[in-house]
């Protein structure tokens, strides 16, 4: 224990990662009935965590990867360790999580104000922050899995935050169960590794994979199984439908968990053991296919929905698909970089949408547009910034990361992935600007009769008047994120250097971790190198034009004067319906669950229990009882008759034996 206080780095890590847990406990046990204090505690502790994360990043920026570990328990030959692993990737992610969680919690001060479950909300936010931070800096895959599950638990509680709403609790359940499906694969993969390799330490795994310490079969099998976890958590095909449903939660939750950090955990885990995955060509190809399919499917869904949050949810899924594509095609840095920028601008988009939703009490972009959404200037500007970043327009952060991904994809021998990536970029730009134009340039202008006018004055005054504190609590985080989205892209090279740097630092970890990282560097450099060789100007032009093309199409349909505002897909109702119903995936799951599980197995088993097993037992009982009844006729109650029989029998027996 003393070591924690002696080592400032360890102290900051432990404090930053675990403070929210105690906050949660304190809120749940003591300050439930004092929402104000609860929120202050929670925001305070997450601020401390964020500061810890930033200072760790600053302090360890040039330091080698650090590993702390202690034995958790031993069972047989299994040594389960608990530890923290601080390398550039985890530090980066820790900082992202800390900052965004902090911003979102500040934002929630406004958004959730007056909610009856205010304290509960902050308790679960703290639970999430704790789990997510611990997951990020976990030293072993098992520990990662544990906090991965805890993150899912926090997500379950936060999605179902409005538990009076059936759809919300249903969505929470769906999220948890679908995640569980993926997690079981993950779990099995871990068990396989545990049995085949015996050690789940992240550096050890990476090292073993890159030095062929693992047999190819084991590696592929476990990589594929572990990838199931990514599919679940990062909502990849075929488990992607929980994420749009998860939008039932409060908007800040969607921003934090279901776009910026938690769902990115899958991608993070992928990059965490990237050398391990890259040891298996088959697994990588599988991931590439899954990522591409996900990206395209969810983009298509985003094109038809009118729900603000749903658009961003589908978009999140598709961007996660992008990241998986990048990683699966060897673009370690591209994936991580897109993860970083995406966290920023997608949180931004959600938080802006949250302001609209909070203001207009609807999720429908058409109604928001009509009621004067564009009059909310700060969120309108910020959401446009976010959309530009998402669409990959220079100089916003999304541009840089998307270019990085496209260059990696272009380096793939099969150009189909690159084409899919480009197509995805077009779709992304299209659906995000479809939304922007809906709000900015609503059909038939702004209806002047919306309820805000009753108070008189513009909506801006209204904001000042009514909820100054609330509005600014929401606006400031949004503006900070917008600023970040604006500048983060320019930090590409320092970041790349930082993420890739640890390769060149000979530290104590070089012994077992160095080689792993070299592989990363090698693979990544290869990818980047290819990209650059294969003509970056060409790539640049293609990437930018894809984004612009999407925006242009959106403008044609929704933005320009006299536009139909229906979308080209509305001409083909079948496809519209297909996209709108999520390619019938939900229908399929629902039907499957209902017919196979509930109507099939469950009722069969229940029937079996009641009729066959219990029936059999009861049958035995009835037989016993019946035969007892039968023989009870002998029990005439006439004592002497019984005696007589007894004596006669005894006498007869004696006679038989004697004579």
């Amino acid at each position: 224990m003393g070591a924690i206080f002696r080592d400032p780095v360890l102290f900051a890590t432990v404090l930053g990662a675990n403070l929210p847990f105690f906050t949660m406990a304190v809120i749940l046990i003591f300050t439930r009935h004092n929402p104000r204090l609860s929120s202050q505690l929670s925001v305070g502790s997450i601020a401390v965590s964020a500061v810890c994360a930033i200072s760790l990043l600053a302090k360890l920026f040039f330091a080698p990867a650090l590993q702390y570990q202690t034995l958790w328990f031993v069972s047989g030959k299994l040594n389960i360790v608990f530890g923290y692993y601080l390398d550039p990737l985890s530090l980066l992610m820790l900082t992202i999580v800390g900052i965004i969680a902090c911003l979102v919690q500040i934002y929630s001060l406004g958004y959730m104000a007056g909610d009856p479950g205010y304290s509960r909300y902050y308790a679960f936010q703290s639970l999430f922050a704790w789990a997510m931070m611990n997951m990020v800096i976990a030293g072993s895959m098992l520990q990662l899995f544990i906090f991965w599950e805890m993150v899912g638990l926090a997500s379950y509680f936060l999605i179902g935050f409005y538990y009076e709403k059936w759809s919300a609790s249903q969505a929470g359940k769906k999220a948890f169960v679908m995640n569980r499906v993926g997690d079981v694969g993950f779990f099995l993969g871990l068990i396989l590794l545990l049995l085949g390799f015996g050690n789940l330490g992240i550096p050890e795994l990476n090292h073993a994979a890159s030095t062929h310490g693992l047999s190819q079969g084991l590696l592929t099998a476990s990589a594929l199984l572990i990838f199931c976890g990514v599919i679940g958590k990062s909502a990849q095909f075929p488990l992607l439908t929980w994420l749009p449903d998860a939008m039932e939660g409060p908007t800040p939750v969607s921003a934090l968990l279901h776009s910026a950090t938690m769902v990115a955990a899958g991608v993070y885990m992928f990059s965490r053991i990237f050398p391990f995955f890259s040891g298996s060509h088959d697994a990588m190809q599988f991931a590439l296919v899954i990522g591409t399919v996900t990206m395209l499917l969810s983009s298509s869904m985003a094109m038809v929905t009118y729900d603000l949050k749903q658009v961003w949810a589908y978009s999140t899924v598709s961007q996660l698909g992008y990241m998986v594509m990048a990683l699966a095609s060897g673009g370690y840095f591209a994936g991580v970089f897109h993860l970083t920028t995406h966290a920023g601008f997608k949180a931004l988009l959600f938080l802006c949408s949250g302001i609209f939703i909070h203001e207009f009490h609807t999720n429908d972009m058409r109604i928001i547009g009509k009621q004067g959404g564009r009059k909310l200037k700060i969120p309108m500007v910020c959401i446009t910034v976010g959309a530009l970043a998402l669409a990959g327009v220079f100089p916003f952060s999304g541009f840089f990361s998307k270019e990085a991904i496209l260059s990696v994809l272009a380096a793939q021998p099969n150009k189909i992935w690159f084409a899919a990536g480009l197509f995805g970029a077009v779709l992304t730009a299209y659906y995000s600007f479809r939304l922007i134009f809906h709000i900015l340039l609503p059909m038939g202008g702004i209806e002047e009769k919306h309820h805000h006018d009753d108070h008189g004055g513009s909506s801006h005054e209204h904001e000042e008047e009514h909820h100054g504190y609330i509005f600014w609590a929401m606006a400031i985080p949004v503006m900070i994120l917008a600023g970040v989205s604006l500048v983060l892209g320019f930090a590409e090279h320092p970041l790349e250097h930082f993420i890739m740097r640890s390769v060149n630092v000979p530290g104590e970890l070089a012994a077992h971790g160095g080689a792993a990282l070299q592989t990363v560097a090698h693979v990544a450099a290869e990818g980047a190198g290819h990209a650059h060789e294969s003509g970056s100007p060409m790539l640049l032009i293609l990437g930018v034009s894809a984004g612009l093309l999407g925006i242009f199409v959106a403008w044609l349909e929704y933005g320009r004067k006299g536009a139909s505002r229906k979308g080209f897909l509305s001409h083909v109702p079948a496809i519209w319906k297909l996209f709108d119903l999520r390619w019938f995936m939900d229908v399929f799951y629902r039907k499957g669950l209902d017919t196979f599980m509930y109507a099939g197995l469950t009722s069969l088993f229940t029937l079996n229990d009641r009729r066959i097993i219990d029936g059999g037992i009861d049958g035995i009982c009835i037989f016993t009882e019946g035969s007892g009844r039968l023989f009870s006729f002998l029990q005439s109650g006439m004592l002497q008759f019984n005696l007589l029989l007894m004596v006669l029998c005894a006498g007869a027996a004696v006679l038989y034996f004697v004579i």
Partner: protein, 491 residues
């Protein structure tokens, strides 16, 4: 037997005596003085708890083996010993028993109907349970085992709920049917061992022939398996639990079901290692079926206690699967799961019991939206449900991890199927949670008060137990494996 350490002070007998003295004192208190009866019960239960905690603390796991041994020859001609001792397998069970008894007594604080008889019978039941766990003599194990079965009938039939006579009768008949397998098996082993000792460890040294081991193990497995709700002998579990009053469900599901698994481990696998190897596939098969079947059948239930009953079937399947692997991790996990499930299911039943006391219904569709009116009581149930799902950092997660790891190694197909059980258990627990606690506020329950601070204490104790052993599994695993590691060398 070199590792056997004689105890100076007969701590185990003292623990047993806390219940028996409690029972006697209660018998001599006039029935009107319910408050005094409850206080005496709680005092004797807490004395047991303190002694068990001390025992747990004092057990030297580095040395391992049987400790705190008391061994006195009782009947010379057939070799019955008063032979008690603890090792890493029964120590967690003793702790579990004391915790569940303590919280169970506290949970029943509001009982009004025939208080005296209730607590007297409950202490008799627990005396039997303690006896089985601490005894190392086959004769005494069987005697205590039956002592623990007998009070179940009146406890359920008098204080029970839904279809109590049927439930009580079914449960008792099932369990006695189990006894009918166990007694011949014990006598068979005793006779084959020369007929001059019931001492478990003396019999162990004899080394039975494979045939004897196969037969005896199967009988013991079936007999004890009924109590452990091994599929297809599980149907008493939902029915019996539905009928039983809260504390009885807690003790029964929490502790008594563990007697079954413990019996298989303690008698079956100790005396018949070859038999265990021979039947391990059967055990793995039934365990896996139990895991899947319990979860799926639980999906369709509408009675809260039925759901928990089926979840117990599923969780005890994990124990069965763990034992079947005959490996360090599997048995570690199985014993740990026995402990974790005991605590968890006690929490389940105590929260359901509270809800039932207040609302007088356990039917899920009638309950909906309970979270609004009783947030604390609901959170206890939800916590238990999460533990049941196997959320990490709760005790049962580690148990499942260990068992599944061992199972995937020993029986890959069964292991993978059992993993699928994790999905099902999540689905079915969350479904119950959703339907019972979430949704619109139900006007019918609007004026029902939430759980009071006083009655929250036992539930909080159980919750903290789950969390403590989830965060620090070492505390338990060190103890368990000190015995399990030498144990598995004989397979």
């Amino acid at each position: 037997m070199t590792a056997m350490n004689m105890a100076g002070f007969p701590i185990l007998t003292t623990i047993l005596m806390t219940t028996i003295v409690g029972l006697l004192v209660i018998i001599f208190i006039p029935p009107e003085k319910t408050k005094l009866i409850k206080q005496v019960s709680l005092a004797s239960a807490s004395l047991g708890l303190v002694l068990c905690l001390w025992l747990y603390h004092a057990y030297d796991f580095q040395k391992g083996g049987l400790q705190f041994v008391e061994r006195v020859l009782w009947v010379k001609s057939i070799g019955i010993y008063w032979f008690n001792g603890v090792d890493g397998i029964n120590l967690p069970m003793m702790l579990l028993t004391s915790v569940v008894l303590f919280t169970g007594v506290w949970t029943m604080w509001e009982l009004e109907h025939r208080v005296k008889e209730f607590f007297a019978l409950m202490f008799l039941l627990v005396a039997g349970v303690y006896g089985v766990f601490m005894s190392m003599d086959l004769f005494w194990i069987f005697v205590w085992y039956d002592v623990s079965l007998f009070p179940m009938y009146p406890l359920i039939a008098i204080w029970g709920g839904t279809r109590k006579e049927y439930g009580a009768m079914k449960l008792t008949l099932y369990l006695l049917a189990g006894s009918a397998f166990i007694l011949p098996a014990i006598l068979f082993l005793w006779a084959k061992g020369g007929g001059h000792t019931f001492d478990l460890f003396m019999l162990q040294k004899i080394g039975f022939t494979p045939y004897v081991q196969n037969v005896a193990f199967l009988m013991l497995y079936l007999g004890f398996g009924i109590l452990a709700a091994v599929w297809p002998f599980h149907t008493w579990s939902p029915v019996g639990h539905v009928a039983a009053p809260t504390a009885v469900s807690m003790i029964h599901a929490g502790v008594l079901m563990k007697l079954g698994a413990y019996g298989v481990l303690r008698i079956g696998m100790t005396l018949c290692p070859q038999g265990a190897v021979y039947w391990s596939h059967l055990m793995a098969l039934l365990g896996t079926i139990g895991i899947i079947y319990g979860a799926i059948a639980g999906l369709g239930q509408t009675d809260l206690k039925y759901v928990i009953g089926y979840s117990s079937v599923s969780h005890m399947g994990i124990v069965g699967l763990g034992l079947a692997t005959l490996s360090v991790n599997g048995i570690n996990g199985a014993v740990f799961q026995m402990f974790a499930h005991g605590i968890m299911t006690a929490l389940f039943f105590s929260s359901v019991g509270f809800i039932y006391d207040r609302t007088h219904t356990k039917i899920i569709p009638e309950l909906g939206g309970l979270s609004k009116t009783m947030p604390v009581a609901s959170s206890f149930f939800i916590f238990a449900a999460l533990a049941g799902i196997g959320v990490p950092l709760m005790a049962s997660f580690w148990a499942e991890l260990l068992v599944l790891t061992a199972a995937v190694k020993a029986f890959p197909v069964a292991g993978i199927l059992a993993c699928m059980g994790m999905i099902l258990s999540a689905l079915f627990m969350l479904r119950v949670v959703q339907r019972t606690f979430y949704g619109e506020k139900n006007p019918r329950w609007e004026h029902i008060p939430d759980v009071s601070k006083f009655l929250a204490v036992p539930r909080v104790i159980l919750m903290s137990c789950i969390l403590f052993f989830g965060l620090f599994p070492k505390v338990m695993l060190d103890v368990i494996q000190s015995t399990v590691i030498p144990f598995v060398t004989r397979f």
